[in-house]
Amino acid sequence: MNAAVANDALAPYGAAFEAVRATVGETAAAREQAFARFAELGFPAPRDEAWKYTSLRRLEARRFAFAGAGGAGPVDTPAVDALSSHRVTVVNGRVTDAALVRSAPLDGIRVRTLSQALEEGEPQGALLRVPTGGGTERFAALNAALSNDAVVIDVAASASVAEPLHVVIAAAGAEPTMIHPRLLIRAGAGSSARIVLHHVGTDSAEHFVNSYVDVEAAADAQLHLYRLQSQGARAFLIERIDATVGQRAAIVVHDAQLGASLSRLDLNARLAAPGAAAELTGLFLADDSRHLDAHVRVDHLAAGTRSLVDYRGIAAGRGRGVFNGKAVVHVDAQQSQARQTSRNLLLTPGAEIDTKPELEIYADDVQCSHGATTGQLDPAALFYLRSRGLDERQARSALTRAFAGAVLSRMDLASYSGAVHSILDARLERLLETTA
């Protein structure tokens, strides 16, 4: 295996895999293949189009400890507000609340670990799937090779689960550690469920969280994912979410990117059968020297599919935001709708946001639109508010919140939107203090 590790940057990952392979039992072959794929792809080359605005040089140079598939020692999990009374916690890649997992946490939702799913005869291929293509294929492969556990969430067919399931993905410990959390979410036919995907971590350590989330929504399913990325301030976070959406099914993703030092999200929705729909909205706040990159891609593969992508970004200080939105309407996707907007707000002169909406259309009877704007707060609106007695800081705050509010107001889960608001409010207050 080491022969495939072409350069020094990959060597520690090779060593980690060597440590793992003996302990992974029956999945060894699948993992070996996955690692080979990672080794083949390596870290992105300097001119890799998928990483045009995001350099991984800093990540590449870091060395991380690896707990191995055998499991991490006990660590203090960062405190997390309960966004639901039904919670699954994954600390450093390992599910910690085994009791909760064994019993059904919620009527209609079943949660298992990787080993439980394997014991029950689930095929390895599904549990450790490696997707093809995209800038994060390498990391999804690395995840499949090194993941020390997985959370397998199944929503029963026709189940309608009102209470959200709160999945906490935590990076813990003082030593910089690489963590490969893995989630498989399957929404059965005709089901409806809400899942909160919550990244947390300590601000003190430089962890590397490389997460992979595989989502399948069967026919007529309604799946709502609420992502709250509040990873620790020094963390590297790479996450890939691949969602395959079946006939007349819909996936709705709300994404709030508020944490980490460097984060990249690849959110891919495949509208695979007629009438499938995706609504992907997000907000990122790239303040301090935070670098947040969102790549959102929707593939329309069947007739009458609909997608709406609406991301808003705020950057301040030396923060940098990247948004790449791509809708591909394939030849069989007649009478489909693809709408995409990216709006961005620069609060200070040193901040930067690069946005690139893309459309590829191979069907002729479709409705597609896209638009992207990047600007500062409207001086006319600022003056209007100040002329009514609001000071500059209040006026900037009101306009910034109004900008974010367009996305926040769609977040239809009170505990989640409350958590997003409180983080955002605190950060904006601090920001406006230093920029007004």
Partner: protein, 251 residues
Amino acid sequence: MLSIRNLHARIGNRTILKGIDLEVRPGEVHAIMGPNGSGKSTLASVLAGRAGYEVTQGTVEYLGQDLLAMEPEERARAGVFLAFQYPVEIPGVNNAYLLKAALNAVRKQRGEPELDAFEFLALVRDKMKLMQMDESFLNRGVNEGFSGGEKKRNEILQMAVLEPKLALLDETDSGLDIDALRVVANGVNSLRGPERAIVMVTHYQRLLDYIEPDVVHVLSDGRILKSGDKSLALELEKRGYDWVRQEARVA
């Protein structure tokens, strides 16, 4: 209350105000009339503190303070209110929030306690009735999707809530039909009082049928050419502005 002396202002290299002198006392209503491009709106903007204008000469004293040295919000808190010619639409900032934040900023300056939600709502409801505005406006974004007339009414509503000492109305009559004009004028008239001064900038005499001025000024090419009582406005309506300019040239 307001004392403008030899005020010169420019935008970029273009000088717009070329020596304005104006004295406004408490209780007075002044109308500043003039053709398009005469500098009426610039004067209102400079008084409210809009960025982009450079005052090159002259002074403006408001209640004994140097108005030009104050930030826009300081002017507002000191009782200066500008009703905009083109009120800005601000989606996502709701009307109720703005009214409350503005009112509390002004009250704080006046040494009055902040209003609680109940007192605030009672006050605003009262003023909305005066402006014939539906309460649903409170929960909408500031001027968002408002018609021209609704925007102007909203301006006067804000003015009625904030009770300024000096109200500057910039072309408040423009774009209003006769019914809306009556409502707006009624709102302005309800604020007339011995402690308050109103300066209206307008192109047409029409507004003055509803809000009777004490003094009328003719502004042309950045200067006040003539001042008189309300009969001057009627004369302008009949004869246009050219005779004033000719008279000024002769003098």
